[in-house]
Symmetry: C2
Subunit: 377 residues, 2 copies
């Protein structure tokens, strides 16, 4: 499957190819001028420190900013010392796998679930226990059964999940918090898309509901820049020493320059107003994308209406094969992401579509290809 995905990335980059397949945010929405001003300020004001080594756990003013935001937006109070900066939130998954997983340990994952995280945890050879994700969030009966197997970790994206676009309902959050508490299982709450709710955050964080049992991972990848690789994890007190040591052993520290530039960007701009602009752009793009789906696709397929993030989840009828849809689209110049790789045990008769990156013209063209392929089946 790895080589399939690597091949897909290459194919999607070919000139003339339309892609609904990637996990990339929209290039054109990056605030290049804002980043330039932040860079100028950092080089001017911080001088050599901006390019020097820093603390393994990260640039303290940025960690303080994140801790403040946890209080003001994410519903829980935390000290900056509990915020550990990483090379994107992907490094959090690697670190948490390293700290908690031995081969054969149980680990609960969402089904479908985020492929990059599954690949990261796979390095530590856990025994994955997939639990279905529905439009209201994770299946609670399955989760209850999974937790009875004494898993070490539970990885989840409660907001605008990659790949399905679904979010946990408030009731689901409450029940998950109650189940996870004192279960002995550490929950990883990946909040990569939490700031991209079209009408603001869709629910309280799991971390606010069960602070000692949850590690929240965050990132500026979907809001400011994925290429700057600034992620973090908010860990309980008891984890701070082990996580700090582990991050240092793995890569000394993440990028000083990126952390300072992003911190200056946050200080110099009205971040909430900036986020509103970003959310509105994505919301508008989603409406356009869903309208195009409605106009073009046959009644035999169905899809959800995500309230944030970058993805819509297209389900095709039982008995049809999403790999065939993928192949049919590819022949005609459109790349889509079949659902199978997002499932630990394969299957999943669905397709992930990224509505955020294609242009409107590409959406219209791509949708007519997708419609033709669906109709031929």
């Amino acid at each position: 499957m790895d080589s399939f995905i690597m091949g897909l990335v290459e194919v999607a980059a070919r000139p003339g190819m339309i892609s609904f397949a990637t996990g990339l945010p929209d290039n054109s929405l990056f605030d290049l001028a804002g980043v330039r001003h932040a860079v100028d300020a950092v080089l001017e004001e911080d001088g050599g420190c901006s390019l020097q080594y820093d603390s393994p756990t990260g640039f303290i003013p940025l960690r303080e900013w994140i801790a403040d935001r946890c209080g003001s937006e994410l519903g829980f109070d935390v000290d900056a010392s509990n915020v550990i900066m990483t090379n994107g939130s992907q490094e959090c998954f690697d670190q948490l796998g390293r700290l908690f997983l031995n081969p054969g340990d149980g680990m609960v994952v969402e089904n479908p679930g985020y492929l990059g995280a599954l690949q990261s945890f796979s390095s530590y050879s856990p025994d994955f226990i997939p639990v279905d994700v529905t439009p209201g969030g994770i299946d609670l009966e399955q989760l209850d059964a999974a937790l009875s197997c004494n898993p070490k970790l539970f990885y989840s994206i409660p907001n605008h999940q990659n790949p399905s676009g679904n979010s946990y309902s408030l009731d689901t959050r409450r029940q998950v918090a109650s189940m996870i508490r004192d279960s002995g299982c550490l929950m990883i709450e990946d909040d990569a898309y939490g700031e991209l709710g079209f009408d603001g955050r869709v629910g309280p964080t799991m971390k606010s509901m069960s602070p000692e049992d949850v590690v929240l991972t965050g990132s500026f990848s979907k809001t400011i820049s994925p290429g700057m690789r600034v992620g973090w994890m908010v860990v309980p007190d008891w984890m701070v020493p082990m996580a700090s040591k582990s991050v240092e052993a793995a890569s000394l520290q993440s990028c000083t320059f990126s952390q300072r530039v992003i911190h200056r960007f946050l200080c110099k701009n009205d971040y909430d107003a900036y986020l509103v602009g970003l959310r509105n752009s994505y919301a508008e793009k989603k409406r356009f994308f869903l309208d195009a789906m409605e106009d073009a696709l046959p009644d035999t397929v169905s899809w959800n209406n995500p309230d944030g993030g970058m993805f819509v989840w297209l389900e095709i009828p039982e008995g049809y094969d999403s790999m065939k849809v993928f192949e049919g689209c590819l022949e005609r110049g459109l790349v889509v992401m079949p659902g199978a790789p997002f499932h630990v045990h394969g299957g999943g008769n669905a397709i992930r579509l990224n509505f955020a990156t294609p242009t409107r013209e590409q959406i219209i063209q791509g949708m007519s290809i997708l419609a033709e392929v669906c109709r031929r089946m």
Copy 2:
């Protein structure tokens, strides 16, 4: 020992404290204006791509630049596909440990050896086999005995080693290359200081002498900026797929922005002329530092005369304790780095001194403290 070092870093940062203890390059030599021009060019010319995700193995033009330099400066030809970018060379050590070490596997390390790498490899619980480093390089008899234990990895810094400042002689390089060839042991050649030879490179790379048995790790941390976290490893063909996959699982990719900025910096400047300037500054600082040692320190202690890098290795007489020197200096406002942590099994009656970062005034003041402590013993 970890908490001791973390404490030391904090102590060294206190106002008024003089530090010969860090592993930092000299802040004041960073080319801030050059970096700013490179940033401007990247944001202007690359637009959104400069902040976007990139290939897990790194920015291709930078990998091509490094491959070219391997041919022109490091004595071996290699394709850009063999160059894998990492979050500083520290990530290389973690990746190589992950790929090759199981708990209890033999691993040859230099004694004394670079602490950061030892900490990184320790995560994989190898059985370290320390081999002494002398002014001419690694002890060949001990290395021969160590290799007969079928170790998986051999980690070395042949040029201007951290901590000792020593380099391998040409004869040592030849014999090591011959011993490592077909030994079944993979050699890791950490070339972090290779470009900092005061009269240019001090010898051929081990990679050029035994390309299939050596992974060379490099970094711009000691030449352009440590805080940008741009490192790499040059791996044999057979390692490319596994290393690429492993880097992606650990952190998706290292920083796009840093890689592009450094690439633009290299293209827009005469890097060799820049390096000559840097080497001259460090050489001059070293001469000043060694003159101050000569003037101040008693005859009972001795030290080497490194031909590159950032460190000088001070040996104190048998029967005296470098931890006592450390403590005596600390009381008087000087931080030095005792030798013990650089030895797998402790010991090492020596002190690592960083001559690169203190100012001339700090060198004079610090040396008189060090002299007083040495004399009192």
